[in-house]
Structure formats: C-alpha cells, structure tokens
C-alpha cells in the first residue's frame, strides 16, 4: 500500500541519515583508579586519567611541549609577578562558566589540608584576581618554572564544589566520603558518566568542549577497567575485549606484536632507573666492612659502576626495551647536546683494580634493597646486578620487597639502607627537580648545615637523596638554576651541575625504561613519554 511503502522509505532514509559513528574506547590498566578528586593523589595514572575530564591553565602536547589550555597566554610582568589571561567562553560540564574565581578557588584548594599536590603552587604565593579573565601569581622569589607542573593542576568549579560540600580535598581518616571522590565536573573533552573504583569507569564525549576543533578522535564513549593480573590483561587485549591495554609485560610483547589483531607501541619513558649508595654514614648499616664506609671512596663507586654490564641488562633483562643512560634524567627533558655525557665503560679488570687500590682487594659484603613491583623488571635488574658484582668479589645480599614495604624502609626517616635501586621521573619535567631532590645535600632548611641522622624526619631538601650525596658546589649551581630566567644561561648551569654530579659518581644511572602500550588494530592514538593516555587523540575504525 502506498502509505506503508511511504513509511518504510521514510524510515529507511532515516536509518541511512543517522551517522554510524558511535565508537566506544575500552581500555585496561594494571592499577585501579581510586579517587576522581584531582588533588587527592600525585600519581601519574590518576592525574593522566583525570586530565581527560579536567584541564589546567596549560596542557602538554603529545611531544610534551607546553600549550595554552584554560589560559590563552601569560607574561612575566616582573620576576615575581606572572599574569595569566584566561580563556573566555569556557563552560564546565554542568554548564557553569569558567572564570578567575574558579582559578583562585582551585589555587586555595590545592594548597589546603588533605591535598597531595601542595607543591604545585608555593604556599606563600599570592593569587590575585585582576578581572574576570585575568589572574596574577605573585611569588616571593623569582621562579622561571612556576607553571611547568600546571598541566596536572586541574581547575575545579567553585560553585560546584561549594554546592556539594567538596571545598576541601578528601579528609583522610575522616568519616565521610568527599563528593569529588566519585563525581567530577571539569572543562575537559570528556565528562564522567559513572565511576566504580576497582570495577569500571565510564566517560562520554563533552560536545561543548572549547577546543572541539582540535579534537582528533571519533570516540563517543570511554570505558576503563582495571585488570591487575598481567596474563588476564594481555588475554583481554588479544581477544579484542579491550582496544588498548597497558603496561604489557616484556615477555608478552612479542606475542602481542605477532598477533594479527594487535600491535605494540613502544616508546621511551621519562623514568630513569638507577643505583644509589650510602655516602653519608661513617659505617654502612648493612655491610661486612666495619669502622669505615667503602662508598665514601670514589674509586669504590667507580668500581661498582664499571662492574655493571648495562648492555647485558638491556638485552637479557629488559629484552631490548630500555635506553642506557649516563644522565639521571631523560635526555629529552634537557637541552644538553647528545654525546656530551657518556657512561663509564664496562670493564671488569679496571673495576677489580680500583677496588684493590681502595684497599678492598678481597672484596666485601653489602646489603641491597630493591622493590619488586614498582618498576619494569626491577627485581630482575637487581638480581643481575648481584651476579655482576660477584664477579669483582663483592657479595651482595639482596632484599627485594613490595613497594609498600620497600619505600618506608629506604626513605626518610628510616633510611635503613646501604645500596639500593630506585626510579625517578621529575614531575615538573625539568632538571632542577632532579638536582634538588636527588642531588641536593639533605638539610632541614635551605642554608642549614648538612643534617645528622637525628634530624632525619625534618629534611626538606634532598628528600630522595637517600645516600646523602653532598657537594656544596652542586647545591650552589642548583640554587642558581632555580632562579635563572634566561633560558640559555639556565641550560648551561644545568649542564655544569650534571657534569659535577657525574664526575663525582653520585649515582650509578642505569637506563630509561620503555613504555609498553598494547593496541588493537584499527585503533590509532598518540603515546606520550610520561605515560599519560589522552583519549582525545584516539580514532577507532
């Protein structure tokens, strides 16, 4: 009948006209997403995830270059006054407008009790509203890298937080759940739909995003599931149940690559893995040498360095997925010309000779601490180190533990360690962080004399300089680096500082580990060296 065929053709036209582009991204990660409160935990995965829903004044591109985000531009008006011009017409997911009040509120909240991101803005920095779309930051000392960590300082909506009793970050140990733990209201390209910690988190595209023109993806829905078991995660990727899974353990990467439906995305990560030695104690806590500390002698440190065959570690332990490094920071984060610094060559004979010269020709015993679930193949690297050092007569007693036990043991205030493995990524993606935290003389306040162990729980600088390496010249250079505003001079200062630390053999750097993302065929995305996964670059065919 005419009317029926008319209806059918009408419906058919409708079916054709509706675009079939509702693509869903499903991905899995080894850890769980706990709180959605952006100030709750200063940890890469959480911040990276929240960075799809929330945004900061700046953001970083796929190559980690700084780009304007909620701030369109900024200028340094005086060395201690920075002015940020805020983007107009931006709305939060609940429709509220973004303006200077939200920035000031966020600046207060990030420094409040309960926030883990207090270091994003110094406590004594004033945040001043100039007008609805301009904010000034007034610091007490010049800080050329004031904003570099702000890609993970997310701006929250003041009205939303006040309406939902989330003005302060989660009160740990309190009796109530903070609203921001399971709900989110940001300005980002995706908005939260639901969140069940440890089970599933769902987000959907925010069609009112201010930068929709730059959205390079066809995703409308994102589902994240944590899958802790390595084997299960790889199986989920291979079976196509998830589109992307990370990290893929080294032994499964070949399998994922050779499988026709999936591929591996390997890239250098920013984390540097290194060995540290106690150079501060008069006698090592865990060693057979009594009355003196062998690590205080540079020859012994060099002997240890030269006994490590980094290429063997790269080939056998890391299966080629590491980049041996002479620096304690990823070269990508510095402007040091490549080739300027080289690793000390692997040389067993020289190592034995150095030990003999230092008076330890017969070798000695030393205890080593290592995490076993924190970095890629951390325990295996330590075990390789043990057997390599045995060849030069050093007997290493290895204690490998989960990170929940390892970190309390080796970090201040316990410092119960003589020889250890650690990894470090500078949160600010800048060298000063490495010079200050890893190489700074441990002091209870800047300018104070070097600490003694009784003051160990008051240390402010050199918190992660567990071995107590100290060179006052490096400290002086580091202080200049902090306030030097000319980029060229700053780079030179950084280079000189590293030259000194490398000359002193402060640490034995090993390598930068590699990122291992497993991706399903038909999915394109961009991988970032800081292991943050941004969904706005994902395309699914």
């Amino acid at each position: 009948m005419k009317s029926r065929s008319l209806i059918f053709s009408f419906l058919a036209a409708f079916a054709v006209a509706v675009p079939a582009q509702a693509q869903e991204l499903k991905f899995a990660f080894q850890g769980t997403l706990n709180s959605l409160d952006p100030y709750n935990l200063n940890e890469t995965f959480h911040l990276g995830f929240q960075g799809n829903i929330y945004e900061g004044l700046i953001r970083r591109g796929a190559d980690l270059a700084i780009e304007p985000s909620l701030a369109t531009s900024w200028e340094v008006m005086e060395p201690t006054r920075w002015r940020f011009h805020l983007r107009k017409g931006v709305k939060f997911h609940n429709g509220n407008s973004f303006n200077a009040d939200d920035v000031i509120f966020s600046a207060t909240r990030v420094r409040a009790e309960g926030s883990d991101l207090k270091t994003r803005i110094a406590g004594d920095t004033q945040v001043i509203k100039v007008d609805d779309h301009t904010v000034d930051f007034v610091t007490t000392k010049p800080n050329p890298i004031l904003h570099v960590e702000w890609s993970t300082w997310y701006i929250m909506d003041k009205e939303w937080a006040e309406a939902n009793n989330a003005v302060s970050p989660q009160n740990v140990g309190g009796n109530e759940e903070n609203y921001a733990t399971r709900h989110a209201n940001g300005t980002g390209p995706f908005e939260l739909v639901s969140h069940e910690s440890g089970v599933k988190t769902v987000a959907a595209t925010n069609n009112a995003w201010w930068d929709s023109g730059n959205r390079d993806s066809n995703i409308t829905k994102v589902t994240f599931t944590p899958v802790g078991s390595d084997a299960t995660r790889v199986a989920a990727l291979l079976s196509g149940q998830v589109d992307m899974a990370y990290p893929v353990p080294v032994q499964d990467q070949k399998r994922v690559d050779s499988n026709s439906g999936t591929r591996m995305l390997i890239g250098p990560e920013l984390r540097t893995i290194f060995l540290g030695m106690d150079q501060h104690s008069d006698e090592l806590l865990h060693s057979s040498v009594k009355g003196s500390n062998p690590f205080k002698d540079k020859r012994v440190r060099e002997a240890f360095y030269r006994a490590i065959d980094i290429e063997a570690i790269k080939k056998k332990v890391m299966r080629g997925l590491s980049e041996p490094s002479a620096l304690m920071i990823s070269p990508k984060l510095t402007n040091i010309p490549s080739g300027r610094f080289q690793r000390l060559a692997y040389d067993l004979e020289k190592s034995k000779q150095l030990l003999a010269d230092a008076g330890y020709g017969g070798g000695f015993e030393v205890g080593m601490d290592c995490p076993n679930d924190r970095y890629v193949n951390d325990e295996a690297i330590c075990q390789a180190t043990v057997s390599m050092l045995a060849k030069v007569g050093i007997k290493v007693n290895l204690l490998a533990q989960p990170k929940a036990k390892y970190f309390p043991k080796v970090l201040a205030p316990n410092l119960d360690v003589s020889f250890y493995l650690l990894g470090w990524t500078p949160g600010s993606l800048d060298s000063w962080n490495v010079l200050y935290n890893l190489h700074g003389c441990p002091r209870v306040s800047d300018g104070a004399p070097i600490w003694n162990k009784a003051d160990r729980n008051k240390i402010s600088s050199g918190k992660f300089n567990i071995g107590g390496y100290c060179n006052e010249e490096v400290d002086a250079l580091s202080a200049k680096v902090l306030s030097e505003t000319d980029a060229g001079t700053r780079d030179q200062l950084i280079e000189s500082a590293f030259a000194k630390t490398i000359g002193d053999i402060a640490y034995i750097p090993l390598h930068q580990q590699a990122l291992a993302w497993g991706v399903r065929s038909g999915v394109t995305l961009k991988q970032r060296a800081d292991n943050q996964f941004k969904w706005r670059f994902v395309n699914i065919k």
Partner: protein
C-alpha cells in the same frame, strides 16, 4: 535447639574478636599505608601528620580498641585508598562474590554427585576411569593455572567467552546479578568452573568412597534380596545415606569457596570482595583488610552453625539424643 543457636552466636563474636586481634598484629608487617597514600613529592611533615591523623602511631591495643568500638557501632571506617566507607564497598561487592561462589558450589554439587555415583556403581567402565583422571587433574592443578588456561582457550583462541569481568549486570534492589543478561551468563561460566573444579573433585571422590562403602552394607543386600529395582536401591537408599557427610563437607567448603575466591577473582578480574581484599593488601588499605577478615570469620561461623543444624535435621540419631538429653 535455641540454646545451641544462641551459644554459637556468642562464640562467633569471640571468634571475630580473636581474628581481628590477630589481623591487627599482622598489619604492622604488611607495609606502610601512608607511603601508598601520597605521591613521591609529599613532604615528610605531611606524612608524619597523616600518620597521626590516622592513628597509626598509637599502640596496637589502642588501635584495636578503637576498631572494636566503631565496629560495634557498624562503622568500619573509610578506605584509605578509595575514600569510601568500607561497609558500603563490601555491600556493593558482596553480590558478585556470593553469586560466583553459589554457582560454583552448585556446579560442583550437580556435576560431582552424579560423577561420584557413576564411578562407584560402574568402577571398571572407561568413562569411570576418565572421570577419575579428571579428578586427579582437578586436584593437582592450581586454581590460577586452570583459570589462565581456560581464558587462553575459550577467550583468546576460540573467542567464545569474555576474558574478564562480569559482563552486564542488572541491579535488583541492593543486589546486582549477572544471571539476567547473556554477557553476564557467559562471564560466569569460566570463573565458576575454575572455582568449583576443586570442590567437584572433592565431592566426586567423597561420594564415590561413601557409595562404595554403603553398597557393601547389609541393608543394601536385603533390599536387593527383597527384589527392589537397581534404581531404587542405588539412588533411593544408597545415595541418601551417602549424602550426610557430603552435605557437611560441602557446607564447610562453601565457606572456603567464599573466602578464597580471591585467586579466581584476581585471574578473572571479577569485581567481588576477594579482589577488593587483594588490592587492599598491596596498597596496605587497613580498614578494608580488617573488615574483610572479620566478615569472613563471621561467614565461617554462620556456615558451620547452619551445617550443624542441618545435621540435626537430617540425621535422626542426633535428634533422638537431643530429645533425651
């Protein structure tokens, strides 16, 4: 009977207290919760302040006392990691674990009992030998290995079943069930099989040995002499008498299944209480660990109580004793 129940409930409180005390003593050695709650740049003063706020520096008896008092008020505290009340978390995850354990136990019973009967009645047939071989494998292969092999075969190679998770769940009141959707049912198959495998072999062997023993008794001989059919003799008389110890064992094992579904839940990323517990251990989330252990102790006591009551119901000899006593 009432006296028995009341006595048992009082005992359960004592059991839970003892478990909580032991758990608290052990927690000192699991690691430092504060280290897992903050980022790498957090200052030492703040970490120390956090320890004070959480009461971690107080002596063990004080921490324990605080825990018992708040537990008595029904407050299990807030998870350090997730930031939500622990009681809410446990209630949310309980349906997943109970459903999985229930289906696994049912599977073990429904398949194990017939297998046991068959191998007892026809011990020389080749099918019996196959069943016994399977039971050997089931007992000797560890749970996680069975799980991973199944995922590899059915999830990756054949692609018939989902490799992890619970699929679509339907919420009915406070309960979430996966039984009402195809993806939920498909997701249940492998985990339930993995979890129930050990129980299945246990039940099969138990039924088999009990049946063999019962089949040799006099009353069975008399029943056959009377001319009753094989089916009536084997299933009506022999099987009924073998079921008493089976019920006991199954009941006790149900507690084990619920408590130790941890491994299966980890392999299949099944969002139940076991997975919550394992995650809590690695992150040193003490409120969750303490609440979980106490809850499991309570489950065990209740299950034992029910099994003992069932024993009274099923076995007439015990009933007579109680009435006379």
């Amino acid at each position: 009977m009432m006296a028995l129940v009341l006595r048992r409930l009082l005992q359960s409180i004592v059991v839970m207290l003892v478990v909580a005390l032991m758990a608290f003593t052990i927690f000192r050695y699991v690691g430092d919760p504060v280290a897992m709650m903050v980022g790498q740049e957090t200052s030492l003063e703040e970490r120390a302040q956090l320890r004070v706020t959480l009461g971690l520096d107080d002596p063990i008896p004080v921490q324990f006392g605080r825990f018992v008092i708040s537990m008595a008020q029904g407050n299990f505290g807030i998870s350090y990691q997730i930031g939500r009340p622990v009681s809410e978390l446990l209630v949310e995850r309980l349906p997943a674990t109970l459903e999985l354990s229930g289906i696994a136990a049912l599977f073990a019973l429904l398949v194990g009992i017939p297998m046991g009967v068959y191998t007892a009645l026809y011990p020389t047939r080749w099918l019996s030998k196959i069943f016994l071989g399977i039971s050997l494998i089931g007992i000797s292969l560890p749970t996680f290995l069975i799980g991973i092999l199944l995922i590899l075969l059915f999830g990756v190679t054949l692609g018939w079943l989902p490799t992890f998770g619970r699929g679509e769940v339907v919420a009915i009141g406070g309960w979430t069930t996966g039984l009402m959707s195809t993806s939920g049912l498909k997701s249940l198959i492998m985990p339930a099989f993995t979890l129930g495998m050990f129980q299945l072999t246990l039940i099969m062997r138990l039924v088999r040995s009990e049946m063999l023993e019962v089949l040799r008794t006099d009353y069975i001989k008399f029943a056959r002499a009377r001319g009753l059919s094989n089916r009536v003799v084997n299933l009506g008389h022999a099987l009924k008498n073998t079921l008493v110890p089976v019920i006991t064992i199954t009941g006790l094992q149900l507690g084990s299944i619920i408590a130790f579904a941890i491994i299966t839940e980890t392999v299949f990323q099944w969002p139940g209480m076991g997975l919550l517990f394992i995650q809590a251990i690695s992150m040193v989330d003490i409120p969750i660990m303490a609440a979980y252990l106490v809850l499991i102790a309570f489950f065990f006591v209740i299950i034992n109580l029910i099994v003992d009551l069932l024993y009274h119901v099923v076995d007439p000899r015990l009933r007579i004793d109680t009435d006379q006593g």
